[in-house]
Amino acid sequence: MSLSYARDDWYAVAMVEQLAEGRVLRSKLLGQEIGVSGSATEPMVRASGALRPAELRYDHVWTTLSDAPRPLFEIAEAAEDDRTFVPCGPVTVRCSPLRAVENFLDIAHFPFVHTGILGEEPHTEVRPYKVEIRDEIDEVWATEIGFHQPQAAKSATTAIETQYQYRVPAPTTAVLYKTCPPKPDAWDVIAIFVQPETEERCIVWPWMALYDDVTAYAELVQFQQEIFLQDRSILENQKPTLLPLDPRMEIPTRCDLTSVVYRRWLKRKGATYGAMTKT
């Protein structure tokens, strides 16, 4: 367990719309009790009683326990005003924060867990794709992923061949860029910001930036919640709870390449909060 790497990152700890005068949202961050209060213009975060930085980004309040944090990653699409921004609401999961990210990166489970939405039998093949650690920006990227999906997005009316790109800009954040059915020249953006409460419990904050001016907002939220909650019961049953980084602990296959590279990247950086470091 390495708290030192994890302390230097920023974490989403509240949605802006949850902030209300006189209200304190209590949770944990890296084992410390935190409270988020204040208003949408002046959010306040306290950790173990002491004030911490509070930044507004991507419809969430972000904080860090470090006095010299790494900068918070950029999602350029957040500046495109004609997108619909959908913070989907926090979901607590009894799993390692790293397991939550890894599951989000896994495309092989779509036909089995998200049957009829993100995949369906017999279209279960994961075709070869590319994964790399981009050293200059210190991120993991998986590209050239194509998948047959019955209903890739709420705005998709028929099964389509969906293109995916995954990006891991920080150990507890995953960003997915996927084919945008109504606007083929743009990508829909779906991210999860994972707040590590402890090594075995996290709060997941899904967020989307979409081009879709047809679907009702409630349906966009529920489409994403339905998918994420299909994963929750599976995440809570994964053993061991912590993410193994030793390649001998779990046997990966070709379709798990993103996970293999993600684990390698974590290990290399010493980003082991939520990981199994001993066997």
């Binding site: 719309e17 609401g89 979901v91 709060i203 529920q222 299909q230 019961s233």
Partner: protein, 216 residues
């Protein structure tokens, strides 16, 4: 034909979706942003249902806001076989007895789930203790049924009582309340999931999704 004001993660909304699917009844869905948007407490929704709960079912001038009443109406209206809502006095009363129990499950296992999953306010230990008590009571009742040669909560066929009690029992692992130690409950969950036309919700899987040896 009816309209369901629906939230995809609600066990009570799922009861209606499940029962309509089992009977092959078509209906229209209106999505309500229950979480995080709290749209069920918006002026429009409160005008429809002053209690501010989901689901809400409308059919012409009829507006129903109690889940168990909706199941009863759908059975009476769309099930000509009259098996889902028995008409004999004892059978009918037994079903209604279990509909009352289903309402209590929402307050115990349903509440414990919201607290574990969606940071719902309240004392999660109290809800979990109440849920455990309800699960034990159900386990005893279902064990008695098995000893009598039965399977369902009331009579020889599935009724709205089974549908009403099913979701929050099936979803109790979401609150960390696993089904180990409840063999009769597992047997009953398995039977419901095997009904023709069965549909799922997040946290409740199709039978073929379950690996061999895993619990229901």
């Amino acid at each position: 034909m009816f309209t369901l004001y629906n939230y995809v993660l609600s066990g009570n909304c799922y009861k209606i979706r499940l029962f309509a699917a089992l009977l092959g009844v078509e209906y229209k869905i209106i999505s309500v942003d229950f979480y995080p948007g709290r749209e069920h407490r918006s002026p429009e929704m409160l005008a429809l249902n002053p209690a501010g709960t989901l689901p809400v079912l409308t059919a012409g001038d009829l507006v129903l806001t109690e889940t168990q009443a909706m199941l009863t109406w759908i059975a009476a209206r769309f099930d000509p076989s009259e098996t889902w809502l028995p008409r004999d006095p004892e059978g009918l009363a037994t079903v209604i007895e279990w509909l009352g129990f289903a309402g209590r499950l929402t307050q115990s296992a349903g509440l414990a789930r919201l607290q574990a999953m969606l940071s719902w306010p309240g004392d999660s230990d109290a809800a979990k203790a109440a849920a455990t008590e309800d699960l034990r009571r159900l386990e005893l009742a279902l064990t008695d049924r098995v000893l009598e040669g039965g399977l369902w909560l009331a009579g020889d066929a599935p009724t709205v009582a089974d549908i009403a009690c099913f979701p929050y029992v099936a979803l109790s692992p979401d609150a960390g309340l696993e089904h180990e130690g409840y063999p009769a409950i597992r047997n009953w969950l398995y039977a419901i999931r095997g009904l023709p036309g069965f549909v799922t919700m997040p946290g409740i899987h199709y039978l073929h999704d379950v690996p061999r040896g895993a619990d229901g």
